[in-house]
Amino acid sequence: MIDFTALTAALHLLTSSWQPWMVVIPGILIGLLVHAVPGLTTSMALAICLPLIPYMDFLQALIFMTAMYAGSVFGVAIPAILLNVPGSAAAVGTTFDGFPMARAGKHNEALGLALAASCFGQLVVYLLLLGLAGPIGAFALKLGPPEMLVLSIWGLTLIGTLRGRHISRGLLAGAFGLLLGTVGLSARGVPRGTFGLDLLLDGIPVVPAIVGLFAAAELFNLVGKEYIVEDLTQRRVQASRILAGMRQAFEYPGVLFRGAILGSGIGIIPGGHAIANLLSYSSARRAAKDPEKFGTGDPRGIVAAESANASSEGGSMATLLALGIPTGGATAVMLVAFSMHNITGGPSFMRDHADMVYAVILSSLAQVAVLAVVGFAFIFVAGFVVKVRLRMLVPTVLSLAVIGSFALAHNIAGPITLAVFAVIGWIMQRFDYPVSATVVGLLLGRRTEGDLLRTYQMSGGHFNFMFTRPIALLMLFLLAASMLFPYLKSGRARSAANKKVMAH
């Protein structure tokens, strides 16, 4: 599978000079910092740095972009854990257990867990790409609307587990999110729920809405409290405890591996990386013996979400690297950077530039090691947020969020969305409706509907069409099995217990 001539050429290219590697640390730091502002995205950070690319030589540009990518993939986890504000859809799952851990004074461990899981996820996916970029890319093309539909349905089952105290309110909140997701121009060209506003034709801007819902729900909750961590003795930043957190991630090898593999798989689907963390979280929760612990500050929740998030970002590079077809924001920007150095995408990419493909993968692998060190230093500094009084922190975070939402939407629609959803989030929180269920609905509503429509269109209305899609069928079967498994297990446990009782 591995083209060793090209691999050697790539190694030679990367090690030809040490000077281009000087951009690694600035690259990673820019990536990490961009996500300190909720709402800024990886592709945006890459786009902002694009004008620099013509002034770098090719190797330097390549190293710089992969470094920034590596940094920003992890960066989203930091505000998610410390402030419960996911920097993008990719960090929603990280907030579920990350923020409860931070509030309980385990912010050091939580950040360490996230860093280790993120590095591990990136490591796994780039190793996979190194050996199997071609087959992975080819497999990605086999996944059509029916397969994506099953994935989306899988994600939607998460709503049932995010219900909070009342099942009905959880389902209602999820349905509300699904409805919000249908706002805008449908795949069939029908505008719905736009109230005649052009700005809503693309739907509700998801990231400002998520930030609004989360920020309001939690930050308003914190009003009246002094600090994020209430216990004075716990309000410390300790390198040893960050390290302990990093080590702790490897105490859950199953969760770690499942997250990394799931993320790699889901990431190859266009747009998949936004939901990989949610799917991984839900599957980890379902597989756990004690699922009720999830959401209360369980380290496994962070590990599951972050390993999948990191590996899915790498997975989204598979079709670019193997086939020269960019599937999303960040990969498209990378292709632009390549084209500034006269390397164009398309089918000839892997064939004519196999050494470049390997150089990107090898360089990304090297970034993982640097990220572990730079990220450690970065979270050590970022951790001091817990020492900031909330009456200063909350307004600062909210202002940054407003700026970020403006940057994202390029117009006042971003801040307005944020404000509207902040109110909705506050009301929901007040009456015990879980905002996370709404967020899952909002994230998946549009995709689910689009893929359902396309599956129906492809089938021509004939149900037996599904039998021509073995991958989708297998995925449906796995989904059903994984949902029924806990009941079978508990049923068996109960009958075993009954037998014991009878024996007495």
């Binding site: 890459l46 086939l323 077809i325």
Partner: protein
Amino acid sequence: MRRRNFLIGGAAALASSLVQPAHAQKWPRRPLTIVVPFDVGGSADRLARGFAQYMPKFLGQPISVVDRAGASGLIGTNWLLQQPADGYTVMLTPAMPFIPVNILVSNAHYKLDDFTFVNAQWTDYTVLIVPKDRPWRTAAQLIDAIRANPGKISTGADFGSVGHIETLALLASLGLKPNAVRMVTFDGAGAMRTALAGGQVDFNIGQAEGADIIKDYVRPLAVFLDHRVPGSDAPPINDVLKPYHASVPLLDGSVRTFVFPTAFKAKHPDDYTKFVSAYRDTLNLPEFKKFLHDNQMGGDWVGEERTTQMIRANFETLKKYKDLLK
């Protein structure tokens, strides 16, 4: 030495700005912005970044690129119209099909007359392609297959695109109902392209450039032009349709041009002329020509009049066929 020159130059500039009244200063006095109403990495964005690199030499001011994507270009186009019509903001976009489609399909609040189309620099045509593993070798074979098995063969479409309208026009001209094929509507050309490369649908009518990115996975069967394209066996579609006594309108797939609000040229004709001459100088610059060539982009000069005619003619044809979308 260099610094001194800079200082002297700076002092001279300062002096001249003090001496001359503000309105006498020559446009452009500050940096220009090229707005691209699509995402980073698309064809218009890549072209705009080329201009940002090479055009400042002739304009005397730097250029920045901003991407205001959304609703098939509608959001960015609205944004352009909200800016002062002073020439400091110019849009670079595939004006055809998106401006007519925004107006006819998405009910945009602007009209064709609101824009000055500078020059159709880079045009693209439409092609009929099938994934390589499908059995049809010619367009006629595909058409016969559709007629023999109505409702069995699937096609992909980016809703409201020229390819989508050509697909519907083709079916109509053959006397087939719209449901003679399974029409699968995708959110955007990128998603559709990936689906085609993976053989998720049986055929597609869409942009030639998009087809080029996935050319290893698909086979072109016909071009929507009145002539063949060098280096390709695909015949013109209306030649294929002749035995069926049918024909389709030949719409331009994509016409990329700089676009100003009409008010700019009306109010500041000299500034507009200055922009056009800097633009033509850039097109003739050897380094820029190399950039276009390396990135497989067009660098034609047809001028404002012919560009406007082209877009107008396409608009009228689209208008006739837009009811097919319902």
